[in-house]
């Protein structure tokens, strides 16, 4: 590998790591909150209702995350 491709590879890896860390944290939170909401009394298997709830909850949590992210970024850009 020449200098140029070593550099490109390092940049790629750094970006991937940031994205992975972020995704891992999000998945952990989704599981935590949605399990709490959708599976209040765990049975012998996940019912289809629980599974549907989980899917909705996941989408909803991500929407909530985006809302907070937008709010926070707007605030930072406003400068306080």
């Amino acid at each position: 590998m020449d200098s140029e491709s070593v550099k490109a590879e390092v940049i790629k890896q750094v970006r991937q790591q940031y994205a992975m860390t972020n995704a891992r944290e999000l998945i952990e939170k989704v599981n935590e909150h949605c399990f709490e909401k959708c599976v209040p009394k765990p049975g012998s298997s996940l019912s289809s209702g629980e599974q549907t709830c989980f899917t909705h909850c996941m989408e909803k949590y991500m929407a909530a995350w985006n809302q907070v992210s937008t709010t926070y970024i707007t605030r930072i850009q406003r400068g306080d």
Binding site: V10, E59, Q67
Partner: protein
């Protein structure tokens, strides 16, 4: 960035120009991740053996206040979402989208939390000066 993550690359092969560019890139990425606010944050940390430089007037028992740089953007967003979800999404989940109330609750919750924490900052700074 952990040094071991780059062990499979031959960093020796980088020439001076590319090394400088990489340094610049890493600096930018860290800046982006942190979004430094103009003032440092006051945080409460457990007092350890290396805490001798902290202001002794503000240390209490095992805890002390310390000025730190702002936490990374993603850390703030994750913890705000975590906290505000508990406050704003109280009913059972019927659909994947948030309704209008939940949406404004999330935004208000994040904004007011940040207001409150800057209020804490100001108050503590007054205590420090007073």
């Amino acid at each position: 960035m952990d040094a071991s993550d780059l062990s499979n690359f031959d960093l020796e092969k980088l020439n001076e120009k590319d090394k400088a560019e990489l340094r610049q890139f890493l600096g930018n990425e860290n800046q982006k991740a942190r979004v430094q606010s103009t003032e440092p944050r006051l945080s409460i940390v457990k007092a350890g053996p290396a805490a001798s430089h902290a202001n002794p007037r503000l240390s209490r028992e095992r805890y002390e206040f310390r000025l730190t740089s702002a936490p990374p953007l993603s850390v703030v967003v994750h913890s705000l979402t975590d906290m505000c979800w508990k406050k704003c999404v109280t009913g059972s989940i019927k659909q994947g989208a948030m309704d209008k109330n939940e949406q404004s609750c999330m935004a208000n919750c994040a904004d007011r939390f940040l207001d409150a924490s800057s209020l804490t900052m100001k108050h503590l700074q007054n205590l420090r000066q007073g």
